[in-house]
Symmetry: C2
Subunit: 386 residues, 2 copies
Amino acid sequence: MRDVAIIGIGMTRFGELWDASLRDLAVEAAVECFKDAGTDRYDSITIGCMSSGLFTGQEHLASLISDYLGNKGNPATRVESACASGGMAVRTAFMEVASGMSDYVLALGVEKMTDVGIGAATYALATASDQDQEAFHGITFPGLYAMLARAHMDRFGTTREQLAQVAVKNHFNGSMNPHAQFPTKIDLETVMNSTMIADPLRLLDCSPITDGAAAVLITTAEEARKFKNKPVVTIRGVGSGTDTIALHHRKNMLELGAVQKAIHRALDMAGITIKDIDLAEVHDCFTIAELLVMEEMGIVKRGESGAAVMSGLTALDGDFPINPSGGLKSKGHPVGASGVAQIYEAVTQLRGDAGKRQIAKARWALTQNMGGSGGSSVCHALQSNN
Amino acid sequence: MRDVAIIGIGMTRFGELWDASLRDLAVEAAVECFKDAGTDRYDSITIGCMSSGLFTGQEHLASLISDYLGNKGNPATRVESACASGGMAVRTAFMEVASGMSDYVLALGVEKMTDVGIGAATYALATASDQDQEAFHGITFPGLYAMLARAHMDRFGTTREQLAQVAVKNHFNGSMNPHAQFPTKIDLETVMNSTMIADPLRLLDCSPITDGAAAVLITTAEEARKFKNKPVVTIRGVGSGTDTIALHHRKNMLELGAVQKAIHRALDMAGITIKDIDLAEVHDCFTIAELLVMEEMGIVKRGESGAAVMSGLTALDGDFPINPSGGLKSKGHPVGASGVAQIYEAVTQLRGDAGKRQIAKARWALTQNMGGSGGSSVCHALQSNN
C-alpha cells in the first residue's frame, strides 16, 4: 500500500446559498483546492453526496462534476453513505491512490439542500434511516436522536444543560470560522429557550439545512514532497464500519458500534491510540451525537460525556478539543460535504493555519463522520509532518 | 498493486419481481454468490445502485444491505454512476483489494425499479442526463438515444433492419439464459412492427424496466488459489472514463469518448488488444448503443457496425460474440445491477459454465458498462486461468 498525503484543500462558505447550484458549489470548492495545492492535476475524482437525486433531480453526479471541471475524461465515482458520504469519498480516493490505480485524486463532498421545501428536505434526509421500518412510519432524524438523548438522560442522568453546552462550545468555535453558516456565539439560556423540535432536543441542538462543498486533493506521500509551499499532511489511518440502520434493532442503542469500529480501525491502522490525538472533528448533527461519539472514542467513561463537556475537556483550550471548526452545529451540515469539511479543518489545524481557533502544537487529528443514526461511520487519522 | 480474482458470482432472476424488495434482491444475489464461492467471508461491501432514493425512498444503501446480510459491522460503500453504477462498484472493490485495505470484498449491484409508476421511473432514469440542460426540458433516454440512432442513419446509412438485428441477436442469446427477463426469440419483423417509442426507436429497440441484483466476491489472486472448486478468473484490466453528460456539448455525438477511454484503459492495463478478447458483454440499453460501442472497441470501422451485425460478426458463433447473456435488451436492465451482471456472464463463460450459449475456448472477456448517454463508462478485462 502506498503512503497517501493531502496536498490541497478547498471549501465554499456553508449556508443557504441561493445563487449557487449543485455544480457551482462543487466547482468552487475544487478550484479553491487547486489554488491551495498549487496544481490542478487530478487523474480521477470521487464525489461524496447523499442525495442529489432527491434534492435536485440529478444523479450521475461524478460525471457531471467532471464535465464542469473541464471534461478531461477522467474516472469519476460518486460515493454515498448518507451523511457519511463525504468521509467515504475520501476513503475511496485514499484506496485509489494507495492501490496505484491513480496518482492524483480529487475527493469532493457536496450537497445542495435548499432548493426544495422543508418537507421535501426532511423526507430526503429520512431516507438515511430504514425506509421500511422507520421513515415510512413517520419518524425523522430529530425524532431518532431525541430518543437517544432521552435514553442517555434516563440512563446516566445527563442534563439539558450538558446537551446545550455542546452547542454553546461549538458556536463559540464557529464564531471564528469564516466558512461557518451560523458564526454566532450563543449561551446556555438561548439554547434551552429555543423552539422545541423533538423533546428534549430544541432548535439549537440541531445542525442546520445547508448548501456547500469541500474538496481535498490527495496523492502519494512521495509526490507530495514536490509541493514545498505547504506543510504536508498524511493520511495515516482510515477506518469505517456499519451497524443496523434501524435504532430498534440494536442491542444497546446508546452504543454506536459503527463509530466504535471506525475509530479503532483508523487508530490501529495509524499505529496510535486516542491519547495521541491533539484534536478531533466529530459528527455533531445533534448535540447528543457529540456526547455519544466522545464515549465511543474512550476519552471519557460511558455516561460521563455530559459532565466532561461542562468541565471544558473538549473546549478549544481543553485537554481534548472537539470541533474547533464549529462542527456541523455552527459551521453547517451540507450532508455529503460534511465529512470532507472535517478533513479541511483537520488539515488547516495541522498546518497551523487556523488563526484564532488554532490548537497549539497540533500534530495528530482525528475526523469522525457518521451516517444516519449511526448506521455507518468513517474516520481518518491525519498527521502533520512538520 | 495486488492481483485480484473473482471467486464467486450470484444473481437473481431479472424481471418484474413484485414479491421481492430492494433489500431482498440484494441479499438473494449475495447468498447465491457465497454458495458459488464456497465461503461467506467478506471484509467489506461495495454496492452499485443508481437511484434507490428516487425508486424506493432508501439512501444509506450499503449500510442497509450490510445490516440485512448479518450486521458484521464491515465497511460498506455505495457507488453511483447512473447505469454504470454496478461496474463502478466492482472497480471500487477491485481497488479495495488491490490496495490491501481489505482481503475479501463483495461487490453487488441492485435496482428495484417497479415499485413506482412508469412516469416516476422515467423521471428517475432521466436524472442520469444533465438535469438543468436536458431532463428539465422534457427529454428522456429513449429520446436521447433516438437522436443518436437518427444521426447514425443519416451519417452512415445505417438501416432500421440493422438496428433491429441487434435486438434479434440478443433475444436469441437471452432465450438460453435462465436469468433473463424476456427469454423470448424475436424476428426482424416483430422488432420493426413494435410500438414506436421515439422515432426511429421502437419498443423492442429498448431495454426494459427491471428489478434485480447481481454480486461477485473478489479477493487477491493468492487467496483465490485456496478455492479449488471453480476455475479462477482474474481481473486483469480496469478502465473507466467520463464525457460531457449533455449530448449537445459533445464535439461529435457519434463518438462515445468515455467508452473509448474505458475500453483502452482496461485493455492497456491488461496488456492486451481487442483482438485477444473472446467475448464481450456491452451496454445495449438501446440497439443503437451496441452499434456505437462496437465502433469504439475498434472491431469495425466507424459506420460499419450495422452491416457487421447483419453479417453475424457478433453472433454467438461469430468471430466476436457480443452479449451472449442476451444483454440488457433480453436479460433486463436493473440499472445498478447491470454492470455486475455483465461480469457474472463473463465469469460464467470463462469457467465454461454457460451451457447452450457457451463460447468455445473463451479465455478473455471484456465487459463494458455505461452511464446515461455515455457520460461515463467502465470496463473490465477478465482472464480465465484454466
